[in-house]
Point group: C2
């Protein structure tokens, strides 16, 4: 059983480094720990330590570790390697991972790597490079085992024994025609229990799940989750020819990335954001988001500025106004989060959108009535002014309704425009709930109070 | 290839229902669509339609659909069933799913279901019920294929052919001793390529990944992701005896749940939150979060209230004060999101925490210097007052530093206390950045301006 605790390793390695026990660290990094653990260790290290640890890994082991690193960090290391070294480590990668990798490297390096490969492998990787990274084609691997329908299982067994190694995650043999069209699949589990004299055609499954090469990775993930697949063949949409197969380990990465994407984007963070990015890189990335938010904040201030006269007369308004804006912001972000997840899971469409909007408006109204009563009572007691209490209650209800409306429709609308709702919706929502909050509260006060 | 588009089905079904074409809907729900699609359809339907659709599914098909529904909705249906019906549908479940299910049902129903089962299955489910849902034991299934080390592969083949069906996701046969201790694994891929006269012991793998039954599901997910596993045996920590196995389909659910958990919790939403929950349920759940936020909002207002005298003299302060609070809130939530993800991925520990805090403080300072300059210039121009410009700049820098400090340390601290950082940290952070924002800005103004 592998020791799973990266943090414990990290502690050991950090202490060894600090005390100058390089030998022990070198031992841990070069064989004592599995490559997956070394990769996690690098991912959990600050930039300087990361570089130091990387240099302690022997050349012959670097390729395997690279394979398990996240893309951002992997690229950083590769960019600093000589073309020769890149060629050397590229031998460790499966064709799909290699294609992903090459897409981010300079053309010169790519052609060197391709030239260094055996012709058949090169053709394979070149074919993979032609697919978009976000499509099934970009996710697939080409290491399939194919068989013909008219042979007996006995021959299949003999054929398999000629293989030195069956590719990882092979749960099906793929049955193809002479022209490489996919005809069906033969699950290993079936192969093992059937009589060896039957032919492949007799027992192959034809209601298998085949994926078109231009399907989006997010749809691929949905199919894998829904059908509980370990692997699925990828075919060309028009010809039906077998192109490769997708395995669950790559799909798991898609699922994690997608689920994290919403959370990170809503805070204006990049998907590839490495927890231990260096200072300047982090500062630059964060600065953009703060700048966008500053525009929002100044718009809200501008609205408040319109009511300076009112504020001058009743200072209690300045004290209370953040409450209205904040309640709207919270209510809105709850709706927004739910709808963004619903969109990501492909649950929300025109058939149920009206119901959803309706529910959110009613929930907003009910919670508005509940909490505006509480706010009104507290305000009346605090400022001994019943009029302000009515005004803040009215403004809160208005803002919660607008929050429900914006939180539901905005992400759906952005999605239709082809804009990522997780990224853009939260800033726009905050602007709306701030502006409406201040406008409703100070506006009502100007009409009824001053 | 299954039609993956739930929304298109939903549109068809909704139209059929509205036009009264029950026959067509009934046809779609009972066989024309795979059970997985019917389940998605139910999940994407508002409560009333959901109930209607459910009633159109024939009794004999309900069990299979239930299997694919999310837990929240599945329970709703089960709670409304007679014990007799629950017993009938429970036949469709695998032992691990059934155990999960039973944990949420009334004791009376549980014992009826258990009594209805064949003794061997009952013992199996009862054993599973003894494990916590959040442990490997609660996630595992008991459908393992075990073999002895001293037999030849030829005998393994003969043994397998006696099976009518090899369990889904079987990629390994498990090699056990006479007393059921796990000795090693025999990958099907190896079984297929080796000479049939060799014995299991000769080729079995002993560096396999076995999981202890008390390991947390989140650690299980990490092991599966790191080692690219399809299935893994579960053993008892003290005796080493084989208890069952965990398969990747269940782990994928854990991974999605965990990744979504952070996002939903940060908005105060429940993990089981069904997108189409009925109005009153949704209102109640949301009300709690709004109430907690209201306390935060009143604390911020109280702080502003301390400076009523100052606000009365310089109304521009009321106009500008939300900017300082908002910049702190945004900067803080960026740090918070990153750290919460880092904690979830087990990347952050005492060895790298100091570096992280350091970086966040420097990033906060740099962005503080940048944006406070911009804010100062805009303020000076707007209000023609250089003193306010200095004051807001100073307050912004202070608030960004406090935001960095709180965003980094708060989730780590909450985690140590055993409190879920995703749930509690965002409210506390907002309180801190609001209070510090208003306090710094209005405090500095009181000292230097009035």
């Amino acid at each position: 059983m592998p020791d799973k605790n990266t943090l414990a390793h990290l502690q050991t390695v950090t202490e060894s480094l600090e005390s100058g026990a390089t030998l022990q660290t070198r031992y841990l990094l070069n064989g004592a720990l599995p490559a997956q653990d070394v990769a996690s260790l690098l991912e959990s290290s600050p930039p300087k330590e990361r570089k130091l640890l990387w240099e302690l890994i022997e050349d012959k082991n670097q390729g395997e570790v690279l394979q398990y690193l996240n893309e951002d960090i992997r690229l950083q290391f590769l960019e600093n390697m000589s073309t020769q070294r890149v060629v050397a480590v590229s031998e460790h990668f499966e064709s799909d991972d290699l294609a992903d990798l090459l897409q981010h490297l300079p053309d010169k390096v790519v052609s060197e790597v391709l030239l260094s490969m055996p012709p058949q492998d090169r053709l394979r990787v070149e074919a993979l490079l032609s697919y978009s990274e976000d499509s099934a084609g970009g996710l697939m691997n080409t290491d399939t085992i194919t068989i013909r329908p008219n042979i007996t299982l006995d021959r299949v067994f003999r054929y398999l024994r000629q293989y030195k190694k069956i590719p990882d995650m092979t749960d099906n043999l793929l049955v193809v025609s002479r022209s490489n069209r996919l005809l069906g699949t033969l699950p290993l589990a079936k192969l093992l229990i059937c009589d060896t004299k039957t032919t492949v055609r007799d027992i192959m499954e034809t209601d298998h799940t085949a994926i078109h090469s231009d399907t989006s990775v997010s749809e691929v993930a949905q199919v894998f989750e829904k059908m509980d697949l370990v692997s699925a063949p990828v075919i060309d949409r028009s010809t039906g020819k077998l192109l490769g197969r997708i395995t669950i380990d790559d799909v798991v990465d898609v699922i994690r990335d997608e689920a994290e994407h919403s959370m990170l984007s809503m805070a204006g963070l990049d998907d590839d954001e490495d927890t231990f990015s260096p200072i300047m890189k982090t500062t630059r990335r964060r600065a953009v988001w703060l700048g966008i938010n500053l525009i929002t904040a100044f718009i809200a201030s501008y609205v408040i500025g319109l009511f300076q006269h009112t504020l001058n007369q009743v200072v209690a308004l300045a004290v209370l106004m953040p409450i209205v804006a904040s309640m709207g912001g919270i209510a809105g972000s709850q709706v927004l989060t739910l709808v963004i997840r619903g969109i990501a899971l492909d649950q929300i469409g025109s058939a149920n959108m009206r119901w959803l909007l309706n529910r959110e408006l009613i929930v907003g109204l009910l919670n508005g009535l509940l909490w505006s009563t509480v706010i009104a009572i507290l305000t009346a007691v605090w400022f001994d002014n019943i009029k302000i209490a009515y005004i803040i209650a009215g403004a809160t209800i208005i803002n919660l309704l607008i929050a429900a409306l914006t939180g539901t429709l905005l992400p759906i609308f952005l999605k239709k425009l082809g804009i990522d709702p997780a990224l853009a919706a939260s800033v726009i929502l905050t602007t709306v709930t701030d502006v409406v909050g201040f406008l409703a509260f100070l506006g009502l006060a100007t009409i009824f109070l001053v």
